[in-house]
Point group: C3
Chain length 331, copies 3
């Protein structure tokens, strides 16, 4: 892997405009204040320009409406979108993932009936139950458990501590981070026959996850009561998120940290759920809608709408109410 | 295990009324839209009746105030309570849990001093510390840790990734889902003697959990500062729930996903805590009370009361306030 | 370890005033109602005095403004601060942590290149990757994973189920409880080039954690997009807390259960974040500020300020608004 680049080589990828010149080879990105002489930094806002003079960075990616003098043996790459350019720089300097001396670690417990695709890696102390099918190039880091009859698609990566319960179907190119729980029982009870307690309702469904889905650390996706809890292709789920039984997410939805879907919620495509927001059971949030951080949604949300607050309402209405409430005490 | 049933056999269990007739054997339940010819479906609301005509299901359980024509070679079972009937159907078709080729997997690390009841199953890569006592038929799925001197009652099932710390007492017929943390230290500090930092207060108590308690994936129950954090018989706790040190829950309480009890909270019997609701430390919520989803409870709640909002108040008052707030901007 | 004490021995440590006398040896602390004859209890509030007469405890630590008659063969230790005295009593009776028959368990998978300090303990089924460096007296309980090139300082304790990803730097005297996730990828995406999906932005930074940091069960600290997510010395983090990529915490901050920092949040020193509170990305909370439980902070908070509510405001303003809202419905 190539680990250092000239400014010209970087600009060949970013397709921006170079101002100034540096002979320094660039070995990674760093923030303005912490950057060393062999690093490139980013200036995406005018307020950070003043830090450039004292930064040790030899180069900077700068949004093209910001004026910065490069200085001696330093270079500026002007781009339309510094965030996008940064993402491309990060792809370039992305260090390799941990590698293992053995593809299938001898301490992994893999049932005889498991079907492993080509190029699979199964780390130390993993457990893989009966009839599990792993596609090609699946990576299970150490201490992962996958239970009976689950299927995992090609190139999916599962980090340590994650547990995938039985009979689930996982797509390809997914990433599940550490300590994720997939397919635990949904939360369902009925009154006992004497009315004095609660009886567990069996949760006999499963979880079906599409392709290119990423699920953050310590998040949970419960199995369905019956039928399936479904996460569509390209959904991105942050840490500590709860997805309850029988919820259905369309394509490319985003759920930020600590957010949650109660049971049987339906999300359309491209729905964005802010951090710590909660969605009531049996509600539908239609495609392209956005739920603000910390909101509590208690009814359906129209396509493309932006809702906020608790109970969540049109975000402009909610903002007006907050202003009105503040005014009450200012009279 | 019997895996298919005639409509008559199902109705012997549901004790409803059959309308129409089908020769088809039923092999499982499914939603109206996804059901195949060998599946039974459910109609619990009039709004779903229209889906029956195009559903492939050969039978449906229908609430008795809903009128549906069975159609050719299809049957309806009319029941008083479709939800309850569904729960019974799910019990019937509940597939067996994962089974293992060996009761005590050779990779499990079980200390010589551990006492195992009859019929225990200890999965791969489990760790069981000194003097742990497991009752009869306890199941530890792979990668579970149970620390020294902990006692677990008969028929309790612990899923992978769950850790139960030392000196805890767990009842019988409990289910702990994946990645649960039982008995981690409570969160307690005192100012250091120089007043410039925080000193850990040892958390020397334990956790005591009753019988028939279910705890959801990635939830936490902290050990007590001293004495015990207590969860009563029959409590049902969802995913990602936090129960802090020295809290005490009565019998048959329900805590939904992302809810939390701060330290030394007391719940009576049959208390219901909605999703993402939080309870302030040292408050008491008396028996039969309900805390609405997303609420923040900052004072005691009377028996049978329903509270809502932040700070939580009588739910009718809170709803009125929300209406009043909305009106402020509509003038 | 000494396991029983006379009242005089305890008072030598507490430096209070003994009233009455007991010949009973004290073997531990317990609550008033549950205490046995060989236990000491606490009375920190007048409302608990009435329980003393029927308590079996042979002794009590009592705040010096509370009047209690000791009774026959019972003693009172009067102190200025019963909470602080209790903390010292708990230190005395703190039982030893679980110990292992072997320092490095034979089932642990430790790469040849790992550097272990003196006195390290590595439990069953741990995984330690390439070039990891553990200082002296580091304890990894069973089923911990530490990935390549991570460094852990002296005397740090890591509980079961916790995963520390590659290239992180962990200080000394830290405690990470069960199922913690350190260094999982931050949550960052960019639109795909065809605008129809989301592309992962590589998260190539790491996590740097100072000394004396405690992190609660099932909490998450994400690695930085680039540069580092930083937690300062002496920070105390409760269970189920989310710390997103590139956040920076100063010294001795406190974050209570279910709270969260979105990306690139900066906390000064001694900041207190209440339970379930959330902080918007790119905001700064200056030193000594307090964020009330359940709040949603959407802008910078001044040093020493106390904010509350959603959107979080000066706590006195917020309380006034809540009063005003309540009055709207009482007219």
């Amino acid at each position: 892997m190539k680990t250092s680049y000239t400014v010209n080589e970087l600009n060949d990828i970013l397709k921006g405009e170079i101002i100034g010149h540096t002979t320094q080879l660039i070995e990674g990105p760093e923030q303005l204040k912490k950057a060393k002489n062999n690093q490139i930094t980013f200036i995406g806002s005018v307020k950070y320009v003043k830090l450039w003079a004292t930064s040790e960075a030899c180069a900077a990616v700068v949004t093209d409406n910001i004026t910065v003098e490069p200085g001696e043996n330093r270079a500026i790459i002007k781009v339309k979108n510094a965030d996008l350019a940064m993402a491309k720089i990060l792809e370039l300097f992305n260090p390799p993932s941990p590698v293992f001396d053995e593809d299938l670690h001898p301490t992994a417990v893999i049932h005889d009936t498991v079907k492993l695709g080509n190029g699979c890696i199964v780390g130390a102390n993993c457990y893989i139950g009966k009839n599990v099918v792993l596609g090609n190039n699946v990576v299970l880091y150490p201490n992962v458990c996958v239970f009976d009859d689950t299927i995992i698609g090609d190139n999916t990566v599962v980090w340590s501590g994650t547990v995938i319960r039985e009979r689930c179907i996982i797509g390809s190119h997914c990433i599940f981070h550490t300590n994720v729980s997939i397919g635990a029982d949904g939360f369902g009870y009925r009154p006992s026959d004497d009315g004095r307690g609660l009886m567990k309702i069996p949760q006999i469904g499963n979880v079906i996850i599409g392709d290119h889905v990423e699920i953050g650390a310590n998040s949970c996706v419960d199995r369905a009561k019956f039928s399936a809890t479904i996460i569509g292709d390209g959904c991105k789920i942050d840490n500590l998120v709860q997805i309850a039984h029988n919820s259905i997410m369309g394509r490319s939805c985003i759920m930020a940290g600590h957010s949650g879907l109660a049971g049987s919620v339906t999300l359309g495509d491209g729905v964005i759920i802010g951090g710590s927001a909660s969605i009531k059971d049996h509600t539908t949030i239609h495609s392209g809608a956005t739920v603000g951080a910390g909101s509590g949604v208690v009814g359906d949300v129209a396509a493309g709408a932006t809702v906020l607050g608790y109970p969540a309402q049109d975000s402009r209405d909610m903002l007006k109410q907050w202003v009105a409430l503040r005014r009450l005490t200012k009279k």
